[in-house]
């Protein structure tokens, strides 16, 4: 059933979170009758609860729409819904390479956001034709002219013929469908008789079918029974099934050039597949793989420990199951004196970390302690050896260290100019170096070179808070640079707490140490003795607080009839304390491990 190239349009939708990407996708699917009305639900393409709830897309999804256009022809429209978040930038770039055009959806009441910028540039890099779509024009606060102007100023594309729509009410959707057909190009080239060359766009694990790969055929034809080869990983598989999403999986005989669909080849785990890999036939291989493949590399690390130490095996099970569907996160067992057995996990970014953590807690019902997120430091030893430090607790003896390099990012922040001062101060406080500052209308765009470790914990929260939610933020990694970085230890009642150890810049150590001690003083309940809380670098204490002793906790009345009840009460309280972590004689509540690291500046 291969479709002629001239009647195929492949596209993605670029939008900032909440600007209406998923709603638009829903409308396109609905208007073309791809899904029966009764099966329609909000955000059809976001399969996971977490995706639906957070309004984010984690895995690429695709849907095939048959559209009878005004020219009398029926076109095949393939929409790839890409992850919109910076954590998945590489996955986004692969999805973009699989299509020829993009709808740029901008909320007409909000304007362009940083995340839109990053993704639209990815689309431009992929040579996309771009159709601007201004959404929410039905709202009183909509300013389509101003936003169109902003698109031209900031992004530099023509927005004069933007589609004006309301994805919510359905206004303007037919215009969008026509624009896709008329303004986006058909897939280029494509020889159905050439050796198979297909891009692996994404893959996901289905508990009944195994791994399902989303593929874009460039050359050749893919059909059931073919023996295929993944050119990077070298794996070979027999194709059980090929098909398309409408959005339900629908088997087809074959997929030809320009088409997007799925293949199922009894692949055991997602880990065996690599986003961006080239698929070819085992017998008749294509000469060259597609360009631009790179394996995904975790950049943010943290420890995940079960609150209830007896749930370690359950956690292992959960992590292994999640890893089946996510090749981009890494894990290895970790032991902490404070927290017991857990895993040191690597993620593509903070959102990725949160998504995995939420899924473990929600889908596997395991309460977790998450240690402070950390990045990978390059420790250059005096003897010339380089150690990649994932966990501050593993910091080698400082006297043997030559120098330490940390990862830096280029951050782009878009903010209404009313809040610019607060944003610049925040970036400055986080050791940022300003690279650029420009204005587009009443919005400023600040570009900063920032250390990733200053960003991984709560930078985004702080940014949201100082700008009342009006700033948007995006970043890319720009490499490593040497700086004066030291390991700060935290001692509670003279016992070092490994889970609270962190790498800090020497100049900021006192400030961080003081803030940490003050925070812990509030977070640790008073005990019957006073507790010194100290921050130290090496053996030197740089900050100190004292948690005073509890003064009064005594039952006023206790006679014969009260004995059983009061004893049970005390036993219950004692059991409650077992949920805390014991450090020497001090009990520290779980939430302290995360809360202590949030800095109120």
């Amino acid at each position: 059933m291969s479709t002629p190239l001239s009647r195929i349009r492949n596209f993605s939708i670029v939008a900032h979170i909440d600007h209406g990407k998923s709603t638009l996708a829903d409308r396109l699917i609905q208007l073309t009758g791809t899904v029966a009305e009764r099966d329609m639900k909000e955000q059809l393409l976001d399969a996971m609860d977490i995706e639906r709830e957070r309004g984010i897309t984690i895995k690429a999804n695709t849907v095939r729409i048959d559209y009878p256009a005004q020219d009398g022809q029926t076109y095949v429209l393939n929409l790839i819904d890409t992850p919109g978040h910076v954590d998945f930038a590489y996955e986004v770039s692969r999805s973009m390479r699989a299509v020829e055009g993009s709808l740029l959806v901008v909320d007409a009441t909000q304007g362009v956001e940083a995340q839109t910028l990053a993704n639209v540039y990815t689309a431009i890099e992929a040579d996309h034709e771009i159709v601007p779509v201004l959404n929410k024009v039905d709202l009183p606060a909509a300013e389509p002219e101003r936003v169109a102007e902003q698109i031209e100023d900031v992004i530099g594309i023509d927005a004069s013929d933007a589609c004006l729509i309301s994805a919510k009410t359905g206004v303007g959707i037919p215009d969008v469908l026509e624009a896709i057909v008329q303004r986006l190009p058909a897939p280029r080239g494509g020889d159905p008789d050439a050796p198979l060359k297909a891009m692996l766009v994404d893959s996901k694990y289905d508990q009944y079918l195994g791994v399902i790969c989303i593929v874009r055929i460039v050359d050749g034809t893919l059909k059931k029974g073919d023996r295929i080869r993944m050119m990077k990983t070298g794996g070979t598989y027999d194709v059980d099934d090929v098909g398309v999403y409408r959005p339900a999986m629908t088997a087809v005989d074959r997929l030809g050039p320009g088409e997007i669909g799925y293949l199922n080849a009894s692949i055991k785990q997602v880990r065996d597949t690599r986003v961006g890999d080239t698929i070819t036939h085992e017998k008749k291989q294509c000469a060259e793989p597609l360009p631009g493949f790179k394996p995904s590399v975790p950049v943010v690390f943290c420890g995940l420990f079960p609150v209830d130490t007896s749930e370690f095996e359950d956690l292992r099970d959960a992590i292994e199951k999640l890893a089946l569907n996510d090749a981009s996160f890494s894990f290895e067992m970790e032991t902490s004196a404070a927290l017991g057995f857990g895993f040191r996990c690597g993620f593509l970014g903070l959102l990725h970390l949160e998504v995995i953590r939420d899924r473990i807690e929600r889908e596997y019902n395991i309460e977790l302690i998450t240690t402070a997120p950390s990045v990978i430091y390059h420790i250059f030893m005096k003897d010339g050896e380089r150690i990649d430090l994932h966990n501050p607790a593993d910091m080698p003896d400082p006297s043997k260290i030559g120098h330490v390099e940390e990862p830096r990012i280029k951050a782009t922040i878009l903010v209404p100019d009313d809040y610019l001062g607060d944003v610049l101060k925040l970036c400055q406080d986080r050791r940022g170096i300003q690279l650029d500052l420009t204005y587009a209308g009443s919005r400023a765009m600040a570009v900063y070179d920032l250390p990733l470790n200053e960003v991984v914990f709560d930078f985004y929260d702080r940014l949201k808070s100082v700008t009342k939610g009006y700033a948007s933020f995006d970043y890319e990694m720009i490499g490593y640079r040497e700086d004066n970085l030291v390991k700060m230890q935290v001692l509670v009642n003279d016992e070092p707490v490994d889970a609270l150890a962190m790498m800090v810049h020497r100049d900021r150590a006192e400030m961080r140490g003081r803030a940490m001690c003050e925070k812990l003083k509030d977070l640790i309940p008073r005990h019957m003795f006073k507790i010194p809380i100290q921050a130290a670098i090496g053996g030197k204490v740089i900050a100190r607080e004292t948690l005073s002793a509890l003064r009064k906790d005594v039952t006023a009345k206790c006679y014969g009839g009260d004995a059983s009840r009061k004893k049970k009460l005390l036993e219950k309280q004692k059991a409650g304390k077992k949920k805390m972590r014991q450090f020497g004689r001090v009990e520290i509540p779980q939430e302290a491990f995360i809360s202590a690291l949030k800095m109120d500046e």
Binding site: C558, G560, G561
Partner: protein
Amino acid sequence: MRSGNSWPVALPEDRPGLETWQRAGFGLYVHWPFCAAKCPYCDFNSHVVGRVDQARWAEAFRAEIARAGAETPGRILSSIYFGGGTPSLMEVDTVAAVLDTARDTWTFANDIEITLEANPGSVEAARFHGYRAAGVNRVSLGVQALRAPDLRRLGRLHSVEDARRALGLAREVFDRVSFDLIYARQGQSLEDWRAELSEALEMAGDHLSLYQLTVEPGTAFWTRAQAGGFRGLPGEDLAAEMYELTQELCNAAGLPAYEVSNHARPGSESRHNLIYWHAGDWAGIGPGAHGRLGSGAQRVATETALAPTAWLAAAEAGDGISRRTSLSPQDQAGEYIMMGLRSFDGIEIDRARAMWDAALPDDKLADLVGDGLLVLEGATVRTTPRGRLVLNGVIRELMA
């Protein structure tokens, strides 16, 4: 300060600790569950009913005493305590029936203490001579406050003047008189309490119970506190200062504390309550009454039905006890530690370990002594003044 494993553990072959139930005395607790009105702070088993058939209740108490007597042959009774509820709503004949039956059932100690809790209302005071004639030799009056607005807030039906009058009469009629006050009340300052306690000490007999207000689950105050409508209670620091001031004033007045909330002239401590704090034996009768009876290494906790009608039916059918639980060695030691550390006499390490050999681990004792919360004198452990104020924490720490 000692540390490590150097605590003396003398455990003679015959484990004499097991016999100290007898040494700590044997008491009878009688619960009268009725009140004229329920107080908003009270979490005791009390009920408000229109009319009580006192003759029927007296009969039920008689039956229960006979049953309890059969289970404790040969014991010498050192105390009887009428608690409630409001026992001063008992008719004199009802009290007399209980005391006469008890006298026929057990041998009374020469110095037996017979206490009745009374409200300081005028109706109750009218019965004082009758109670005295029936054998009551000590009353404990629920004065609670010497400030009219506070009495109203605490839901008490008597006035400050009623309290003074009742106390005066009680001191004429009975050998020994105690009264209760509740402090650390809403809006109370340290100076307010100093003035009120000083007045109380002027009026005091040989004993005072001074409780900090506690909002207990199941009370009207609790419901209000949960709804956020209970403000102005002193914070931890003020409550601690109030407690310390209480010790200071009572010591100066010759009524030092001998338990967390109880003060007495030396020799006038409540013998009945010391049975609880020294982990002695007592039989408990009446609705919701608990008891503890030891026999060899066994110790049995008894409970009765909470509802007055249910208890009455059970007692009339021949056994008012609804549950008998044999306490494990660990529970026995746990109760001894929890109750015993309340008393300024402290606990005997040997006795606790005779109940359960893992009781009072040396390292925990050493930590708590090091923190200045416990002191060790010979083989006796006592709380320090600071330890007493955080006793719940000390007990939790010592729990296995």
